[in-house]
Symmetry: C2
Subunit: 328 residues, 2 copies
Amino acid sequence: MNEVLTDDRVWIGFDLGGTKMNAMLFDSAFGVRSRRRKKSRGSEGVESGIERIVASIAKLLEESQAPREMLGGIGVGCPGPLDLEEGVILEAPNLGWKNVPLKKALEKEFGCPVFVCNDVDAGVYGEYRFGAAEGARTALGVFPGTGIGGAMIYEGKIFRGKTGSCLEIGHVPVVPEGALCGCGRRGCLETIASRLALSAEIAKAAYRGQAPYILRVAGTDLANIRSGTIKEAIDAGDKIVEEILREGAQQLGNVLAGAVNLLAPDVIVLGGGLVEALPKLFLEEVGKAVAKQVMPSYLKTYELKIAKLGDDAGAMGAAAWAKHSAEA
Amino acid sequence: MNEVLTDDRVWIGFDLGGTKMNAMLFDSAFGVRSRRRKKSRGSEGVESGIERIVASIAKLLEESQAPREMLGGIGVGCPGPLDLEEGVILEAPNLGWKNVPLKKALEKEFGCPVFVCNDVDAGVYGEYRFGAAEGARTALGVFPGTGIGGAMIYEGKIFRGKTGSCLEIGHVPVVPEGALCGCGRRGCLETIASRLALSAEIAKAAYRGQAPYILRVAGTDLANIRSGTIKEAIDAGDKIVEEILREGAQQLGNVLAGAVNLLAPDVIVLGGGLVEALPKLFLEEVGKAVAKQVMPSYLKTYELKIAKLGDDAGAMGAAAWAKHSAEA
C-alpha cells in the first residue's frame, strides 16, 4: 500500500503576516481540511499574539476533528529577521515584536515538531510545491509589496544564506545616491519599484492633477493607493498610473535580468497583490526587460510566471516545508 | 584503519585553458604526486588537442609510477559552454573548438570515470576545498580576466543553473545602453570592470600621454597591458593607472553588493592574475563598495578574501570534484 494513503497525520501551515494570520490544516496529501483567517493584532503584545496563534491552531484541530496526536508538525511563515534553528522571531517591526520564541511555545503546547521559516520563503516554497513553479529545479520568486521580497527553491530545498535570510532582491543597489531605503541604504530596488514606491509616485501624480481617478477615490494619501485602486485607475483611464506601473515593472525586470544571469533559474514566479491585480502588465514589462538583458544563451532557459496560490501560498508552503523538514 | 590512508587510488585534475593546459596528479589525500604544464595550441585542431591531453595524462601516470587501474577518476575544467552530463565542450572560442566529446574520449582511453566541469567552477571548488574558502557553507568566487568569471559552491556542491552554466556576474547589466559586450548585450559589468576593459582604458590614457610608464613598456596595444605591467605601472607612479584600477574594482564591488544581498555567502573569493597582482587594492576598493551597499544586517556575515591557489586552483578543484562526484 502506498505510504501517502496510509499516513493519516495532519499538518498545519501558518502564515503570520503584519496585519493578517492565515492558518490551514492539511491531510498528508495536502488536501485542505480546515482553515481560519484572523487579524494579527501585533500591537496587543507578544503574549496575546502567541495565545491567538495557539487558539487558531486548536480551533483548526477541533474543526477537522483531528486529535492532537495526529498532528505531524506545524510550519510557520514569519516576517524576519528570524533565528531559524531556534525558531525565534528576532524582530518583526510590523507586529512590534522582538525575540519571540515561537517554536518553543508551540512545541510545548502541541507536542509536535514546529518549523519557523521566512514568510517569503514559505510562499515561494508553496508555489514550488503546489503552484506556478511546481517541480522546478531552481525556482526564483519575487513579490513586490511594501518592500520587494524574494526567495529561491534550489533542488527541492529553500536556498539559505549565512544568517538564514537571503534573496534580498529588493535591496540590490540600483540608483547611486538614490532615495533612502527602509534598510538604511540608498537607491535599493525597493526605493523605485516596490508597491509603496509606486504608490508614492501615483500620489504625486494625483496631487499634480494628472491622475483624476486616483484623486477622486483615494486622494493623495499613499496608504489609500492599494493594488486594487491602482488597477481600477488604469482601467478608468489614468494614463500616468499605467506609465508609472510599467516603468516600475521594467526596473524590476532590469534587476531580475542580473539575477537570472547569476542563478539561471528554470522558473521565475512573480506574485503578491499588485502583480496579481495586473498580471498582464507585469508579464509584459518584466518579460521584455529580462529578455533584453539576460545572456543570449539563457533566453530559452527560463519561464516567467504569475503566482497561482494567492494568499494561501504562505500557509501551504509552511505546512509542506514542515513535513519536508520533519521527514528529512 | 582510516579509509583515506588505505585508499591508494590517484586522481587527475586537468585545467584546459585558452592558452595553457595544467595537469596534476594527486594521491587520494590530494597530495601532489606529479604535474605538467603545456601550451593548449587549440588552433592545431581538436584531434591534436585531445591527443595532447591524453599524452599529458599518460605522462603524469608514468612519472608517478601509478598503474592505470589505480586511476580513480579524471576531472577536467573547461571553458564553456559545456554539456555537463555528456561531458562535451559545445564551444570554446579561445581554442576554436566545437562539439568536442571530451568525456567519452578520455573514458575510452583511460577506463575511469571522467567529469567535465566549467573552468571557473573548478577553480572556485578548488579554493573551497583547499584554499581561501575552505569549508565555507556558501563560497562565491569572482575572477576578473578577459571577462569576469563567477562561481558558487553551496553546501558542498557546485551551484548549477538550468543549462549548467550560471553565476555569470560579468554579465549583470550595469550601464544602460553601455558599450557592446562579448555576449552580444550592452553595458554588462565586463564592459567596464574586466581586465580587458581596464587595459583598454589604460591604453587610452597612455595614448593621451597620461601613463608614461605604460607608454614606454607596452605602448598603446592593450594586448601588451597585462596584470604584471599594470602592477609595475602603479609602482612606477602612473597615477591614472591606479585610478582606473580603483574605479574598476569599485564597479565590481557595486555588483558584488547586489550578489551578496541575493546569496548571503559566508566567503567571497577574488582571484585571477589581476587580483593576485594587486590584492591590497582589490580588497580595499571591493571591500568598501560592498560594505557601503549590502544590507546592514549582512555586514558581519561575509569575509572577503584573495584566492590562495593561483594557477593550480582549476586543476586541484577539477580533481577534487571528480573524486566527490565519483563517490557520490
